[in-house]
């Protein structure tokens, strides 16, 4: 059996980057939340803040660890599977990724050590400073990586010379046309992800009557975030879409399932795009709505996929459906924000009910939305690595054979299956184990100082104040 190294490399990249992406998107939001909690505790001395901070720091440690190791894989993927792309784009991407390492990764790593292990070794103010530096590091990191990614979608400031791209304007290349939209969209997605995870866990604890004071505070904070950020994200996403329409019209055509350029295009709610036939086999939509959204005119012209040759079209079904999943979840998030507000206004926010039972299920929602969003934008760029400049087959490693690619793909899948199943299990046990006690007025850990602890401390060993559903194992 012959394997196509190009196809396997694409699958492998999609696989490793998807697994990687879910961790930073969570830890970026969570890092800021922890810094905020540390700050509130520093200022007010209320032990509830310390309790929250300590618990979420443990979760952070596990999630961040998994993000770090899967991130190391990413930094070598360009070279192993896409060496021609690496070589051709190195003059821009090399410095950008290097800046990410020196300005963000070192900052995160060094101060994370102090955040996790240094509580008793440094003054409280310094510990707070470490929390802020970790949060800052996650933002700087997302800045650079989204510069690199946006540039691959809307390259600017470069030109080809002797087979390599050369940078003519760093400002144009870094602040390329899609960067501001993508960065804002992603930053807000991170905050939403963090908010839904914390809200879901807090709601679950409230259902169990566990650490009520702290979890009420957490739930309330997160629901305010969701109430404002979920609708804001929809608006930002719309601007991002308009930017895509301007620079990558074919991607928008795929998102809309629109084959022929037409005026007054409908917004398709359901369709089965058929790339071979260059049409939708079945479709159901709202007349003219796509034109209204994209051009703000009922009879505005929406570009079609057939403007480019079939081999230059992205995989339409993937783009079409992942876009709908993302938007659908987005609306669901807005609904939860409003539902929370209604409960709050009626004074029933902390009364365990259906809302609190559904919120824990919503923990998965932002992760699915983020992955669906990435599938939309990344698949929508196909067949280009750097839009309009370098395509997949030009970029793939020439010496790579099908069997080598398949060996590494199966290898990564096996490793990730073990590592992430274990990680998920330990996170679950961590949450199930509940929050540890913090004595009022104490600045330090209520955990047993006489035991060897990792950052998180042994689960179920930290004497849960309120046993949650009995067993731990």
């Amino acid at each position: 059996m012959e394997f196509d190294p190009l196809l396997i490399s694409r699958i492998q990249f999609a696989f490793v980057v998807s697994f990687h992406a879910i961790f930073p998107v969570f830890t970026i939001g969570l890092a800021s939340y922890i810094a905020l909690l540390e700050g509130l505790h520093f200022k007010t001395g209320n032990p509830a803040w310390a309790q929250l901070s300590r618990f979420w720091t443990k979760v952070f440690a596990v999630a961040f660890g998994m993000g770090v190791v899967s991130g190391i894989v990413m930094s070598f993927q360009f070279g192993t599977n896409w060496s021609n792309f690496a070589q051709m784009s190195a003059n821009f991407l090399g410095p950008i990724l290097s800046y990410e390492v020196v300005t963000a990764f070192f900052l995160e790593a060094a101060f994370l050590g102090v955040l996790l292990f240094g509580r008793d070794k440094v003054p409280r103010g310094t510990h707070l400073f470490a929390a802020i530096m970790v949060a800052l590091g996650t933002f700087i990191s997302s800045f650079w990586i989204l510069v690199a990614n946006s540039w691959m979608h809307t390259p600017a400031g470069v030109e080809f010379q002797d087979g390599m791209l050369h940078v003519r304007s760093w400002a144009e290349a870094i602040f390329n046309p899609s960067f501001p939209y993508r960065f804002t969209h992603m930053a807000v997605a991170s905050f939403l992800t963090g908010s839904f995870v914390v809200a879901g866990v807090s709601a679950w604890y409230l259902l169990k009557g566990h650490k009520v004071e702290a979890n009420r505070k957490a739930l309330s904070m997160c629901l305010w975030m969701i109430l404002f950020l979920a609708p804001a994200q929809a608006v930002i996403g719309d601007f991002h879409g308009l930017n895509t329409l301007e620079y990558q019209p074919t991607k928008v055509a795929a998102m809309e399932g629109n084959w022929e350029t037409q005026a007054g295009a409908p917004l398709l709610l359901f369709a089965l795009p058929d790339k071979a036939a260059q049409e939708n086999r079945f479709e159901f939509g709202i007349p003219k709505l796509a034109s209204i959204i994209l051009t703000h005119e009922a009879d505005g012209v929406v570009p079609g996929l057939t403007e480019v040759a079939p081999e230059d079209q992205p995989p339409v079904s993937i783009v079409f459906w992942s876009f709908r999943i993302m938007v659908g979840i987005g609306f669901l998030m807005i609904a939860f924000g409003i539902w929370g507000l209604v409960l709050r206004l009626r004074g029933r926010l902390y009364e365990p009910g259906r809302f609190h039972r559904l919120l824990p299920l919503m923990i998965a929602a932002p992760f699915i939305a983020v992955l669906a969003g990435w599938f939309t934008t990344e698949s929508g760029r196909a067949p280009w690595l750097v839009y309009g400049m370098i395509n997949f087959s030009e970029g793939v490693t020439p010496s790579l054979t099908g069997w080598m690619a398949i060996v590494s793909l199966i290898g990564y899948m096996s490793v990730y299956a073990v590592v992430y199943a274990s990680g998920g299990y330990y996170l679950w046990r961590l949450v199930k184990g509940g929050m540890a006690d913090v004595e009022p007025g104490s600045t330090e850990s209520g955990a047993h100082p006489k035991r060897p602890l990792s950052a998180g401390g042994p689960i179920g060993d930290t004497a849960p104040a309120a046993p949650i559903k009995g067993e731990w194992t």
Binding site: V68, S70, G79, N91, V101, L116, D120, S454
Partner: protein, 332 residues
């Protein structure tokens, strides 16, 4: 006109040795894991590197990104050439990286499993890195700035030997680190282990020194023709080895680690001097491999300001976690 390529060669060389020394000792602690006296010692060993390993490994990511930025040809030839080896390296780093968090969270029954993952991952990663060194000495088959060799060109008896050499070398860094950071039974054990590891390192070092001129004509010419001063480097390495032995006998605590770092630095400089100026041997020099001048300059502007800051706060975190790690005492 300033020679940015040369400046970048120095920066990358500095980054690589920083990585080797820093991740070297925490990988070494992992390599020594199966031989530790007991589980309590393993807890102490892991705690001695837990707050800093992540920062140490970041130097590897800097190596990857920095090569892409300053010497893209090295990145785009070596990684395809070492494809399956790179996979092993990364798989090893993944298992040992997550073991830090998972091992302490696991139930007693599963704890051994994560100890094994930490040990196995560290050993495989070290072996893979050593094999890279051997493969680099052997050289890479290229055509028109791209790798054209086979999938297993990197795997030869010679490269496996350099792999074993680095495993032993990292284990030596790990054991001398433990001498410095622990006390009691763990430290005693590390004191006993260090001379034996040193013997192993010197043995492999000797075989490689005889073997290298046989696999590589370029190195043979460099060693035996014009450049006499190159012999000062192995002499320095041997002096460091002697210092390790002496300081272990006198039960010094910090000196064995410092001397081991010296041993690594001299060996590393020896390697660089032997292959200079080839970065993708046998065909391409660092000037062939360099990125565009404006890219090197753009990155240099930032790096010159940022790296000192990184070094400063890295040093600060080591200072925060200074002193001995005691059994039963966590950092939390």
């Amino acid at each position: 006109m300033i020679d940015f390529t040369m400046i970048w060669a120095v920066i990358i060389a500095f980054g690589v040795i920083m990585y080797v020394l820093m991740d070297g000792f925490d990988l070494g602690v992992g390599i020594l894991y199966p031989f530790a006296p007991d589980e309590e010692s393993r807890d102490v060993m892991m705690n001695s590197v837990a707050p800093v390993w992540d920062g140490n490994e970041t130097w590897l990511v800097l190596g990857g990104a920095g090569l892409l930025g300053a010497f893209p040809l090295v990145y785009s030839v070596l990684l395809p050439a070492l494809y399956l080896g790179v996979f092993l390296l990364l798989a090893g780093l993944i298992f040992r990286g997550v073991a830090f968090e998972f091992r302490f969270k696991a139930s007693p029954a599963k704890k051994g499993w994560w100890s094994a993952a930490f040990a196995g991952g560290s050993t495989v990663a070290a072996l893979a890195q050593g094999i890279v060194v051997g493969a680099y000495i052997q050289g890479f088959e290229t055509e028109n700035f791209a790798y054209v060799g086979g999938a297993f060109d990197w795997l030869t008896p010679f490269s496996v030997l350099t792999g074993i050499g680095l495993v032993l070398g990292y284990a030596l860094l790990g054991s001398t680190w433990l001498i410095m950071k622990t006390e009691g039974p763990v430290q005693d054990w590390a004191y006993r282990l260090t001379p034996r590891l040193l013997g192993g390192v010197l043995g492999v070092f000797l075989i490689i020194s005889f073997w290298t001129p046989l696999v590589d004509e370029f190195v043979r010419d460099r060693w035996f023709s014009n450049l006499f001063s190159i012999w000062l480097l192995p002499a320095g390495a041997l002096a460091c080895a002697w210092l390790i032995l002496r300081s272990v006998r006198s039960r010094a605590e910090g000196l064995p680690f410092v001397a081991t770092m010296g041993l690594f630095i001299f060996t590393y400089l020896g390697l660089l001097a032997s292959k200079w100026p080839y970065v993708v041997p046998p065909d391409y020099t660092l000037y062939d491999a360099a990125s565009a001048r404006e890219s090197q300059m753009f990155l240099l502007l930032g790096v010159l300001f940022v790296i000192p800051v990184v070094l400063a706060y890295t040093a600060w975190t080591y200072w925060v976690f200074r002193g001995k790690v005691r059994p039963g005492e966590g950092y939390h």
